[in-house]
């Protein structure tokens, strides 16, 4: 069966300098892919290309169905105003906008879908709270709920562990693994350790795609990607992963 998503020789940049060069990547039905790499290496740009927010300079982004499927997207906290006057429930409801057109008025089906996903993520008791009052972990779950409420066929998360504590991080990782039983999950992160136990594939991005696969990365490959010494930690079964010093200097 063909991959759900296929990137072929994709290059892109915001100004004259390319940010990404000749990237090939595929995402399959059951994948739990972590896109890692140093800050400024083009991880988020790669995600923006896949989401259709940017158009590649060259190369192809192909979805199996021809057009993009229903996409669940969980952005970084920095992209919106946490003090925006909105209840958790209404925030999640925004995830239904893509369902049947944004001009449509809200209906009973939307309400039912919101209730269902709030229960699934154990957010029901918080549903009337303003988002400004939520903890980092609660807000993160609310954003995941917003992404899931549209019944997406694939889920993308941009740095989901950046603003939450260690305990929440591992709960989040378990949650994503649970979701991954039904749909592919793609996580952009500079902190792969949080996801280490569940991640099945890794793509290492720094201008180019340095590695993509489900085996263990070699030390040399990582050093090439990050441009600095890194340390590998084997997590044992089921997958051997790594820990990278992402804060080190690079171009």
């Amino acid at each position: 069966m063909a991959a759900l998503l296929q990137l072929e020789d994709v290059s892109f940049g915001y100004e004259r300098e390319p940010v990404l060069r000749h990237v090939n990547l595929s995402v399959g039905e059951q994948d739990f892919l972590a896109i890692i790499g140093p800050n400024g290496g083009g991880k988020t740009t790669l995600l923006r290309l896949i989401l259709g927010l940017e158009t590649p300079w060259s190369g192809q982004i192909r979805w199996r169905a021809g057009s993009p499927p229903r996409i669940g997207y969980v952005p970084q906290f920095s992209t919106f105003d946490r003090n925006f006057p909105l209840r958790l429930r209404d925030t999640v409801l925004m995830g239904r906008i893509g369902h049947g057109g944004w001009l449509r008025r809200r209906n009973a089906e939307d309400t039912a879908a919101v209730d269902r996903v709030l229960a699934q993520l154990r957010l029901t008791t918080l549903s009337d709270r303003p988002i400004a009052d939520l903890s980092g972990g609660q807000l993160q779950r609310a954003l995941i709920a917003r992404a899931l409420v549209s019944n997406p066929e694939i889920l993308f998360l941009d740095e989901p562990t950046a603003s939450v504590d260690a305990e929440t991080r591992s709960a989040l990782s378990d949650l994503l693994a649970e979701l991954n039983r039904d749909i592919p999950v793609v996580v952009v992160t500079h902190d792969v350790t949080a996801m280490a136990v569940h991640v099945k594939q890794i793509a290492c991005v720094n201008r180019r795609l340095f590695y993509h696969g489900s085996g263990q990365l070699s030390h040399a490959q990582l050093e090439e990607a990050y441009g600095c010494p890194v340390e590998l930690i084997a997590h044992g079964v089921p997958h051997r992963l790594l820990h990278a010093h992402d804060e080190c200097a690079h171009d």
Partner: protein, 277 residues
């Protein structure tokens, strides 16, 4: 009491009150979007750029409103387009439009022979000089704005909250942002008459800021509270202006600032909660 009865006995004061009401609706509704989307500086740029069109039409001997509207809408589209192109020059471009618009406007008015129009009215506004036509235009724009809000509110709020997510969901973010900027431009032009170019930003920023201090859980409620705050501002300002013989524009703005300080101070003293908590 007799003072108040006197106030309501004049056509021009009743007209001023009506203009204040409509200005509160426009400022409260559009201003809330302007504040949460951080378009305050753009709004300032549009209003000052419009002065070029105003001065030019005055020099031509045409209705200055036409020139102001054309330039304001063009400036809004230009700034919306530049911000979408992702360039960093938008900030600087606003400054150029701001200063350039004022310079051109003043130049044309200077070149116009004969009686010079009352520049102070355009700059600082006088709600007591509002004529029926202004009120009719304000009423039309308010109706159009509320109608569009009713139809497009899901998309508009989604864009206001999280633009990237809205785009991924297929909401036409760019078109809605441009529409918002055009509405703001039109409102700005009509409100120049009410509080003037210099003070008009107050009607777009103070009511939403106060409403956001008070309401945490509903964007719709913020809009409503912002409109009511605007009403307090305009009527309170008019009352202050009438009783203390003050210029109306500054009286309206300062009423709003006092109101804001009272709300902020009360919150500081009585805890952090917002209305709905």
């Amino acid at each position: 009491m007799t003072e108040l009865a006197l106030f309501f006995s004049y056509d021009f004061t009743r007209l001023a009150l009506l203009a204040g009401l409509l200005a509160s609706v426009l400022g409260g509704v559009l201003g809330t979007f302007v504040v949460v989307k951080r378009l305050v500086f753009i709004t300032g740029g549009i209003s000052h750029a419009a002065f070029a069109g105003l001065g030019f039409c005055y020099w031509l001997g045409v209705d200055p409103l036409i020139g102001a509207v054309v330039v304001a809408v063009l400036a809004a589209l230009l700034l919306g387009w530049v911000s979408d192109a992702g360039t960093r020059s938008q900030d600087a471009l606003i400054g150029v439009l701001w200063a350039g618009g004022m310079a051109i406007g003043i130049l044309f008015i200077h070149m116009t022979p004969g009686y010079a129009p009352n520049l102070m009215t355009y700059l600082f506004g006088d709600i007591l000089t509002v004529v029926p036509r202004d009120v009719v235009l304000l009423a039309v724009l308010t109706t159009v704005t509320l109608g569009l809000l009713f139809v497009l509110h899901r998309g508009l709020v989604a864009v206001a909250f999280d633009e990237t997510f809205a785009r991924v969901q297929g909401v036409p973010v760019r078109a809605l942002t441009l529409l918002l900027l055009v509405l703001v431009a039109l409102a700005v032009i009509l409100l120049i008459q009410v509080v003037g170019i210099v003070l008009l930003l107050a009607l777009f920023t103070l009511p939403p800021m106060i409403a956001l201090l008070l309401v945490a859980r509903s964007f719709g409620l913020v809009l409503l509270v912002a409109v009511l705050t605007g009403l307090l501002m305009t009527t309170g300002g008019l009352a202050a202006s009438w009783t203390m013989d003050l210029p109306t524009g500054p009286a309206i703005v300062l009423t709003g600032i006092v109101l804001g300080l009272v709300v902020w101070g009360t919150k500081k003293v009585f805890g952090q909660g917002r209305l709905s908590d």
